[in-house]
Symmetry: C2
């Protein structure tokens, strides 16, 4: 019998990130002779593919086979049982669950999977930015069983944001402030609406353009309400040692005009948004009068325990002002780094770079479990 | 008997980085109950402290005790034997060697330590930027024995440069170009000499000021010859897949006037440098005429396999031009990240941040060996 250690991979989610992850997973499996990686389970919300004897699923055509599969996804507790049993069959096997969804339900099952010794890698923000109780349950379960949990792509996609913050904290640095642009959508909108040179378009026109280019959620209000940024700030604040209760427990500025909160659809919202252009124009002009530009940022002041998300004004030469395209930028102010922060910048959204964070998390787990 | 796994730490070097590392090590040892970390050997070039039975050395006063210790450092092969034997005494122990020197001799002994199963963490550039043979020997020894070797601080100190590049490569991204300011000294010099606004001082005056502020080596020529940057580029190029033979196998522009290469001392060099100010002034003015500023950068073009180090002109709005203080900036251009690179920026020198890279490497090793 071969003594090459085996690791079984179970994937939930085969959307944009899931597809890119699968292709990176194939690259890994091809390139690394040990441990032997095999796909043992894959599902979407409606369909699944798996073998009851855990035999490997060929990855080549799995995405095209999924929609017509006769199997349906296992209920999450059953999936946990199914995967936990794999670790007890024949040669020693480890199992890693890859959650490529943004599902709250899957997130809430993490403590169960972890308690069964199943490691987790995921870009899903929900588990780490929901209730503080869930956060605690996840890391307690991981600590007890030794199963690992990594979520680099939950903030800034593949940018090394979470690993860097953990390194700072774990080596004893004092993080004093974290500030940045955490949303690719907001970055794109403000870099176009209030550029550092030139005038930019009308707010409603920029939102419409961003939607057409695929930079927003189907209903742009899901970006403009600031919740996505608030979730990311919740995660970073908790990693910095602040027990933030939830993403709604600190001030988050919504860019949805009150009158349009109840619009019945994204289409109706976009149609009526021009009526409110003067509000954003005033904000832009007020900043310009100070020689500044307006940006949508999040910040965590660790000493005063203040977390906030909203519009701020920046000098045109500030790194946050001169961001390009839909890039994110995250600045860590710490005791060691002094007045010049450690800065990480680049694409913070997109299938390939998000999957990259998940794949590098998987590599971290593999280096530790086999 | 306790079942808490033990890890013995051996430290070579107790200078600026060594002192900071020791304090971060004390923080780790205090904070992490498992594995039990203990200091088993520490030395400078002249003195050492260790117990023949491997019993832990108290860390509190070790730095003040070292200069008056009656023990001298073990020869490197003897040290390797001494540490390898520790792994065979009583309960299972792992050993990590922390090389906080910039010694070529210690670097050349890495394959030996690794072949004995002793992991290594270090900011020492010499091992990874010397001959390509040594590079291969190191990673072959590590691969055979399973001992780990990490050197984050060999480029950009504690900035996550090497880990990010490894993640990009290991997950299958194609790195097309790496470009940046890799020297804190060069950063400081050019940010003062050719600022994006204002005029800056004379070249020789800026070099003198940098030396007085402790930003240069005792002999500033050791910074101005470009070799430090060439070593860092060698490391990044190799990690990107280019088998660069040595830091002298690609073009490196020296900023030492030919006539001063043979000056007998750093003092004489500084005294005579004003005679050559017109050369650098011409370069600066030529850039200004194009609306640009001059910077000392390194770049790796992976496709064309070109590595080079020297002066380049940048638009004033370019992130490399608007760097502050003695910050480093490193841009990774990759297939996934497209036209907007992944950028990492911040202090790339200094005891605390360099030690931080070493300590976080130690954490990586610990997570894998116990």
């Amino acid at each position: 019998m071969s003594s090459t250690p085996q690791v079984l991979i179970a994937i939930i989610g085969a959307g944009g990130v899931g597809k890119c992850f699968l292709s990176q997973f194939e690259f890994l499996a091809r390139k690394r002779p040990s441990p032997k990686l095999s796909l043992t389970y894959i599902c979407t919300s409606k369909k699944a593919i798996y073998n009851t004897d855990y035999s490997p699923i060929p990855t080549e055509n799995v995405l095209s086979s999924l929609p017509s599969s006769s199997q349906t996804p296992l209920e999450l507790p059953k999936l946990a049982d199914y995967l936990a049993s794999a670790t007890q069959t024949g040669s020693t096997k480890e199992v890693v669950l890859v959650d490529n969804t943004s599902s709250q339900d899957v997130a809430e099952a993490y403590p169960l999977f972890l308690s069964f010794g199943i490691s987790i890698v995921t870009p899903n923000k929900k588990a780490f930015s929901g209730s503080y109780k869930l956060w605690q349950d996840i890391f307690e379960a991981s600590s007890k069983s030794g199963a690992k949990v990594y979520h680099e792509s939950s903030v800034g996609a593949g940018l090394p944001v979470i690993s860097t913050l953990k390194d700072l904290v774990d080596t004893g640095d004092e993080v004093t402030k974290i500030e940045g642009v955490f949303s690719g959508t907001m970055s794109f909108l403000f870099n176009s609406f209030a550029p550092t040179s030139g005038t930019g378009g009308k707010w409603s026109a920029e939102v419409k353009k961003a939607k057409e280019l695929g930079y927003t959620e189907p209903d742009p209000r899901d970006d403009l309400n600031g919740l996505d940024v608030a979730r990311k700030l919740t995660i970073l604040a908790r990693l910095s040692g602040l027990p933030v209760e939830s993403p709604s427990s600190f001030p988050v500025q919504s860019l949805i005009p009150t009158e349009l909160e109840s619009a019945s659809s994204g289409e109706e919202f976009l149609q009526r948004l021009p009526e409110f252009d003067s509000q954003m124009e005033e904000t832009k002009v007020a900043a310009e009068k100070e020689g500044k530009v307006v940006r949508f940022v999040g910040s965590i002041d660790v000493a005063s325990k203040q977390v906030k998300v909203g519009l701020e004004k920046f000098d045109r030469s500030h790194p946050i002002a001169s961001l390009k395209g839909s890039d994110n930028i995250i600045s860590f102010y710490t005791k060691r780094y002094g007045s010049n922060p450690l800065i990480i910048q680049g694409a913070g959204a997109g299938g390939e770079v998000t999957a990259m964070g998940v794949t590098s998390d998987l590599l971290k787990v593999l280096s530790q479990i086999v």
